[in-house]
Structure formats: structure tokens, C-alpha cells
């Protein structure tokens, strides 16, 4: 009796959350799917008509799509490489006996808490401005020509900003994983005369394999839709050089008001994200059983 009552209660406690998330997931997605089959422009209201897969054909063959797909992949790949290749040594360093480690940790984690619009504008103006930025001044100290970041290497500039925001995340997770590494195992290896390098390769790195995978997957989910950093620094330009898929869809929807094409693009973005999400969910699910 009591059990059945408990079960009923448990189910009714769960229902609001499940219901809301279900609606949240299904309704917009279904609408996106529906709009993607329509000729639907906000500039031309009343002319909506079913056009099948025409929007997809338009979106996928648009040169802007290929350019933005390439930018998305370069952005995600570079930020992942930077955050992990810098995050591993940084985490190893913070795992050492360091005087004032807690304070150093605070400095390292800080960029993650800065809102994207602030970090993007601070980097764009105070650091990367071609005349009055700090980097320009540093370059002049070494008699180098200052880089005009957002004109000469716009995508790289965006990559640097985003990598700065995500480096703390990678470092913190890798550090947490390092701290759970069994010290005795490492000590035993050292006793047996293993060098620091081979201890790292044969003990530390395998231990980090899983957290690195998790960092890659979670960062990818967020990096696929980098938006604010591009919005406040380059607006996707010059040309299309910093337009990623998220920004392309935004500009089609809210600048060109082409609802149909933007919806088709939105579905493409969902598919790409789902490929990554599939692997992440599997890893998390395996952990749930353990």
C-alpha cells in the first residue's frame, strides 16, 4: 500500500519537470521543422507557401554555409587544442606543491566567470586595439609592426578570446581529476626508478584520458554555438571570415528575416550538435551505472 502510494507521489513529483522539458524540446523543434519547409519571410508577410526541401537546398548550397561550417570547425578545433594543450601542463603545475595555491587557482579560474560580452570587449579594445591596445604597445617595444587583429587575423582573434574563456574550465576539470589520482601509484613508480616523463606517459596520461574526453565533448557542445563573442567584436566579418553557423543562422533570421532558410539552418545545427551529444550522453550514462 505504502509503496504504491510512494510510487504515485514520486511520479507526480517528476511530472512537472518532465512535462516542461518535453514541451520545451518538442514544440520549438517541431516549429523549426515546419518553418523549414515554408517560403517564409518576415519582410513579405502573408506569402507563406510550402516549398518542401527548397530551404535546405538553398542553405546547404549557399557559399556562406560552407564558409561558416569551415569557420565553425576551425574555431571549435583550435579552441579545443589550445585549452587542452595548455590546460594539461597548467593542471600539472597547479597539482605541484605551490605556495599560495588557492590564490593562484582563483586567478586561473576567474576568466570563466566573466560574461562573454565583457571579455570580448575588453580583449577587442584594451588588448587588441591596433593603435592603443596593450598588444600594439608590446609589439612596438620589440620594434614589430602591431597586428591589426580584427582585420588581419579576425578568426584567430576570436579563437584567442574564446580559448581564454575556456582554458579555466579545462584546467579545473583536469586538476580535479589529477587530485583524485592515487599518489601511492605514482610514488611506487618513482621508487622503481621511473622517470618523471614515463610516470606522466604511463600513469598520469591514461588517468586523464576520461576527463580529457569529457572536456572535449562539453566544450564542443558550447563552442559549436559561440555567439556573443562574434556579435560584439566582428559581427561575423570582415566578409564572412568570422561567421560561424550560429551567427549565420542568427543573421538570416533576425537581419535578413528569412525564417524558412534560418529554420533549415537551425536543423542543420541541431544535427551537428546531436552527433557530439550522442557520445557525451553515452559516457555520462556509463558513469551513472558505475
Amino acid at each position: 500500500m505504502a509503496t504504491r502510494q510512494t510510487q504515485f507521489l514520486a511520479r507526480s513529483l517528476l511530472t512537472p519537470a518532465v512535462g516542461l522539458l518535453f514541451v520545451w524540446m518538442i514544440v520549438p523543434l517541431a516549429l523549426t521543422l515546419y518553418f523549414s519547409t515554408l517560403h517564409y519571410s518576415l519582410l513579405d508577410p502573408g506569402s507563406e507557401a510550402f516549398i518542401g526541401l527548397e530551404n535546405f537546398r538553398y542553405f546547404l548550397t549557399d557559399p556562406a554555409f560552407l564558409a561558416s561550417l569551415q569557420n565553425t570547425l576551425v574555431l571549435v578545433g583550435s579552441v579545443l587544442a589550445l585549452t587542452i594543450l595548455l590546460g594539461i601542463p597548467l593542471a600539472l603545475l597547479l597539482d605541484q606543491p605551490v605556495i599560495g595555491r588557492n590564490f593562484v587557482r582563483l586567478m586561473v579560474i576567474a576568466p570563466f566567470f566573466v560574461m562573454p560580452t565583457v571579455s570580448a570587449l575588453v580583449w577587442k579594445n584594451l588588448l587588441m586595439h591596433p593603435v592603443s591596445g596593450l598588444f600594439a604597445w608590446l609589439a612596438s617595444l620589440f620594434h614589430l609592426t602591431p597586428i591589426d587583429w580584427f582585420n588581419d587575423v579576425p578568426l584567430f582573434a576570436v579563437i584567442l578570446i574564446v580559448a581564454w574563456q575556456w582554458l579555466p574550465f579545462a584546467t579545473l576539470i583536469l586538476l580535479t581529476a589529477l587530485q583524485s589520482l592515487d599518489e601511492e601509484q605514482k610514488e611506487a613508480a618513482e621508487m622503481d626508478g621511473a622517470s618523471a616523463v614515463s610516470t606522466f606517459i604511463y600513469i598520469t596520461l591514461p588517468h586523464l584520458a576520461r576527463p580529457i574526453t569529457v572536456v572535449i565533448l562539453i566544450e564542443t557542445i558550447f563552442l559549436l554555438t559561440v555567439f556573443a563573442e562574434i556579435y560584439v567584436t566582428t559581427g561575423g566579418g570582415p566578409g564572412l571570415s568570422t561567421t560561424n553557423i550560429a551567427f549565420l543562422i542568427y543573421s538570416q533570421a533576425l537581419i535578413q528575416f528569412d525564417v524558412g532558410s534560418a529554420s533549415a539552418g537551425g536543423l542543420v545545427a541541431v544535427v551537428i550538435a546531436n552527433i557530439v551529444a550522442f557520445f557525451l550522453v553515452r559516457i555520462v550514462g556509463r558513469n551513472l551505472e558505475a
Binding site: 514520486a10 513529483l13 517528476l14 512537472p16 519537470a17 516542461l20 522539458l21 520545451w24 524540446m25 523543434l29 516549429l31 597548467l90 603545475l93 605541484q96 606543491p97 605551490v98 595555491r101 590564490f103 587557482r105 586567478m107 586561473v108 579560474i109 576567474a110 566573466v114 560574461m115 562573454p116 560580452t117 565583457v118 575588453v122 579594445n125 584594451l126 593603435v131 592603443s132 600594439a136 582554458l167 579545473l172 576539470i173 580535479t176 583524485s180 569529457v214 562539453i218 557542445i221 554555438t225 555567439f227 556573443a228 556579435y231 560584439v232 542568427y250 533570421a253 525564417v259 534560418a262 537551425g266 545545427a269 550538435a273 551529444a277 550522453v281 559516457i283 555520462v284 558513469n287 551513472l288
Partner: protein, 276 residues
Amino acid sequence: MARMATRRRVVISTIGAWFFGFLIFFPILWMVLASFKTELEAFAIPPSFLFFQWTTENYATVQERSDYFHHAMNSIIIAGGSTLIALLIAIPAAWSMAFSPTKRTKDILLWMLSTKMMPPVGVLVPIYLIFKTFGLLDSRVGLVFILCLGNLPIVIWMLFTYFKEIPRDILEAARMDGATIGRELVYVLTPMAIPGLASTLLLNLILAWNEAFWTLNLSTSNAAPLTTFIASYSSPEGLFWAKLSAASTLAIAPILVLGWFSQKQLVRGLTFGAVK
């Protein structure tokens, strides 16, 4: 001999860690310094690092513009409101899955996680049109609603992992003593869950405060939180570095403090318990 080596190691790693830590923190420090300069000095080449005319004028200017407070208030309402509502919905759900799990609990949890992975841009168009139809564009209610739903999976997950760690023996003991479910919830579960609740609250306040996709797309002025307000400095006529810095410092200061308190929970919350 060994002690010598250890001491040298400590010195080297301390110097290294402080150097790189400072390097990473530097852009924030540079921004805070700029906020105390005059506009001319903030722009000056060569830059002055510490020996400039310190002034709090920018903060005064930012405060005088009453719209700063308006946007700060929006941030508080939107981040706070969405987090509180998400908690209200998530607590019963997480409680139910942690203490009365069924065969499907794992699937439900993973499904909830997968909704978080839907890229927001994939549903930008319908959400924008729905908001337009119902007059929710540039309204705080709309943003509270969207951010609440967006963060709900993370809130449920975090609470679930915390609730899972509460020893079940205690609950059973309470049940044996004849406690009803209501009493169990109030007198046994809640006190033990408070640390987990607090860190969930903190992490989600941070996420909602810094959210910059929906806030940029769905608000312009009236409901604009600080993310949107700061973004308005990106226009050419807003080229006031010292004032931008002062407004930015005010915008990130509270969240930086909260974030520093919650850094341990951050790992857990953002990796969905996959890294401990």
C-alpha cells in the same frame, strides 16, 4: 639531499604557477585598472600601469546614468528568478528520482541531459516568433522563462547527484519512526540537502547571469540585463574605454565572488558528475 630537491621543486613550481596564473588573470586586472583611469589615460600609449592619476570618476558617471542600475536590476531579476523557479521545479523531480528510482530513471536523466545539448540557435526562429506573437520580446518574464527552461536540466542533474549521496538508512529510520513523507522532506531531507541546494543555486545564478545568447537576441532595452547593456558599448560611438571598464567591473564583480566560492561544485555541475 631529498629535502633540498623538494624545496627547489616548490620554488620552481611556485614561481611557474604564479607567473601563469597572473598571465591568465591579467586581462581582468588590466580592465579594473583602466576603470580607475581617465579616458585619456586609458587610451594612452605607452600605457601607465600603476602610476597614473587614480580616479573614481568613471564609477560615478556609470552610477549617475540611472540606466546602469536598471540593467543591473534586470540581471538580478532574470538570473535570480529563473534560478529560483528552476529549483522549485527541479527539487521534487530530483528527489523523486534519487529516492524512488524506477527502471526508467536513468533514461529520463539522460534524456534531460540531451535537451541541454540542443543548440539554442536551432530553436531561435520559433522562440523569437512565439515571443513576438505573445508580446514577450524585451520582457523580463520571457527571459526568466527561457533561462529557467534552459538551465533546468543542469539543476535537476546537480540536485540528483547531491540527493543520491544522502544515506538512505537515515530516511528508512525516519520512516520506521513513523514520519510521513512530508515530515521526512522537511525535517530529514532538507537539512541534509542544504549544501547541495546552495551550490546548485550558486552555479545556476552564475550561468544565468552570464548567459549571452537569449539575452542578446530577445532583449533590447527595457528588459536588457548587463550582458546586453555591455554589448551596447561595442558600437563605435561607445568608445569610452574607462567607462566600459568601470561598467564591466561592476557587472562581473559580484559573480566573480560567487564563482570563487563555488569552484569545487562547478566541476561537478558542468560535467554532470562524469568527473569527480
